[in-house]
Amino acid sequence: MRAFTQHQGIVAPLDLANVDTDMIIPKQFLKSIKRTGFGKNLFDELRYEDEGQPDQECTGRPLREDFVLNQAKYAGSSVLLARRNFGCGSSREHAPWALDDYGFRVVIAPSFADIFFNNCFKNGLLPIQLSEENVEQLFQEVANEDGYALSIDLEAQTVTTQSGTSFSFDVDDFRKHCLLNGLDDIGLTLQDQDAIKSYEAERQQSAPWLFVNKG
């Protein structure tokens, strides 16, 4: 996994609550058997006026001009700002894959759905939870300033505005460690394979019905 340490980038304000993963990447694109190539279909239904198809070339499709990612001033944005309960619904990891593939490295919102939040960390994408008030303040600042950017420091756990205001955020120690170092957590878990084996051996004795062969 790609490591995340510090990042500075332009902010795209998506002023919507309860953004679900169907919205982030609609179902027809989940038919891919790859992890990449989802960026052009990120927010497909919000972004384009027509119905997108898998493997379709997207340049030339009619755009919804009012959608944030279609506005010139947010071109090249890599920090997504949104409202509460971001990433709710389906567990599809295609959602963080699409955000990452588009170029986002950070998503900031007042709250996130659990599965999406967890999936982000597996893909070098940092979800940051700030208070409703702080998020509201950021929305106002973005609206007033073209090219508005934020600096994110994972080690220090801070989000800093260009004027120097800093907000701190929480992150689990384990997730932070993995993200900072770009660690493959399967490899980490396998360091505990003796513990897994002894757990299994004990359970096979105490609850043998859990180990039935599914022929």
Partner: protein, 475 residues
């Protein structure tokens, strides 16, 4: 000894290692696999030159992409018209072959929606940890199993290690006290709960559902309730084990037999929250207050009872809610409408991992029996949850009741719940659906979904618009 919730017990029983940083290694007893969220996980295994940790800890079946018409199904995977869908289903077949994982493929009668198949086979057992790359894995919590959806990276992690790195959640109890009214089902109960606590109300929690209103439900009903825990933001829904659970599991193909059965039942009896166990949050609903529910908007929390007026944006005080309601009104095309009956329906869908089990089909058949689907409807389809549910329904003659009433009887799969196959809504069409999500575009580009119970969907199919099923069956 301190008292524990059911979740505390399940957590403790599966704890392989508590790490210093607060994370924990949790053992996974069963992983269910389907074609959409597994190909990249298998690919990851191959690239790292890893093997599955325990092959028998996995069970696979294709469900999301499979066509539901007889013609396409007749030739199995070769009959899938959509080439992209076909690749995904073929990939699952190949991966299961390569790694030796048991799969119920498209030609197997046991094929169906993973969350119907697991319990039906007794692959899901009380006290297990169950995961799947699908958020509706919460369904299996109906058996007192700790079950939740995961992303594809974690599917790969479970394949490789049979474990997950987790942090413990908080405990929430949602109690439904009293007795449910006629034609008020598990679906109405869970929609009412979501209406009460909101789609993020359960975020960070494991929700245990309890009270007489829950205990009186069949296993099918309990699965419906737990299935939609994720729609309240909770990855896990749980219901304590009782005699109803044990009776359902007994005799299923993968359920323990003989001496092991007795031993298992003894262990399962402890799968309840201890008297006085601590919950971080408790929500209580009165069963008698719950009426048939219908969603009007684009989030499962946008739900009302059949006799309520559709709430308006201008009446909301919270600015985020105000904005959300305005957007939902526009998307759903509600201008000029005030009650649910004002909405003209285009399609009706009875199916999905929420409501495609035999009991769901029985009640829908009871409502449509001897009646005719409204002429104004473009389509009404019934999609059983598995090949075995289909066979059972046909043995009971339900298929004939549906077709005589003008509904289509289909082959098993996820179908119109998420429209990855050919079953979908057209732009602007309204659908009464027994599925679980009414998000924008969920059932098709521009489609408008209204979530309801099977009885309410059946009643809507007859009337052509929403109607209290109790009123319909009177006539």
């Amino acid at each position: 000894m301190s008292t524990k919730t059911l979740y505390d017990k399940l957590w403790d029983q599966h704890l392989v290692k508590q790490r210093d940083d607060g994370s924990a290694l949790i053992y996974i007893d069963l992983q269910l696999l389907h074609e959409v969220t597994s190909p990249q996980a298998f690919e990851g295994l191959r690239m790292a030159n890893r093997k599955p940790w325990r092959i028998s800890g996995n069970l696979a079946t294709p469900d999301h992409n499979v066509p539901t018409t007889k013609n396409e199904r007749r030739e199995g995977v070769n009959g899938i018209a959509d080439p992209v869908s076909k690749i995904q289903v073929v990939t699952l077949d190949e991966n299961c072959d390569e790694f030796g994982i048991t799969e119920f493929n498209m030609m197997d009668e046991r094929q169906g929606i993973v969350h119907v198949v697991g319990p039906e086979q007794g692959a899901t057992l009380p006290g297990m940890t169950v995961v799947c790359g699908d958020s509706h894995t919460s369904t299996h919590g109906a058996f007192g199993a700790l079950a939740h959806g995961i992303g594809t990276s974690e599917v790969e992690h479970v394949l490789a290690t049979q474990c997950l790195v987790q942090k413990k959640n908080k405990n929430m109890l949602v109690r439904v006290d009293g007795e449910l009214s006629p034609y008020v089902s598990a679906k109405d109960v869970v929609l009412a709960i979501i209406g009460e606590i909101g789609t993020a109300g359960g975020t960070g929690y494991v929700i245990e559902f309890g009270g007489t209103g829950i205990q009186s439900l069949s296993m099918e009903g309990r699965m419906t309730v737990c299935n939609m825990a994720i729609e309240a933001g909770a990855r896990v829904g749980l219901i304590a084990v009782d005699q109803t659970t044990i009776d359902y599991v007994e005799g299923r193909p993968y359920a323990p037999k003989g001496e092991q059965w007795d031993q298992a039942v003894e262990a399962w009896k402890d799968l309840v929250s201890d008297e006085g166990a601590h919950f971080d949050n408790v929500v209580v609903l009165k069963a008698e207050d719950i009426k048939p529910q219908v969603t009007w908007g684009t989030s499962p929390e946008m739900v009302i009872a059949i006799d309520q007026a559709i709430p308006r944006s201008e009446d909301q005080t919270d600015p985020v809610l105000k904005e959300g309601y305005a957007r939902a009104w526009k998307y759903m095309g509600l201008e000029g409408k005030s009650v649910l009956a004002d909405i003209t329906l285009d399609r009706v869908f009875i199916g999905s991992c929420t409501n495609s089990r035999i009991e769901d089909l029985r009640i829908a058949a009871e409502v449509v029996k001897g009646r005719q689907v409204a002429e104004s409807l473009k389509q009404a389809i019934v999609v059983p949850g598995s090949g075995l549910v289909k066979a059972q329904a046909e043995a009971e003659g339900l298929d004939e009741i549906f077709t005589q009433a003008g509904l289509e009887w289909r082959e098993p799969g996820c179908s119109m719940c998420l429209a990855m196959n050919a079953d979908k809504l057209g732009n602007g069409e309204h659908c009464a659906s027994t599925s679980n999500r009414n998000f924008e575009g969920r059932q098709g580009f521009g489609g408008r979904t209204h979530l309801v119970s099977p009885a309410m969907a059946a009643a809507a199919a007859i009337a052509g618009h929403f109607v209290d099923v109790n009123e319909l069956v009177k006539h």
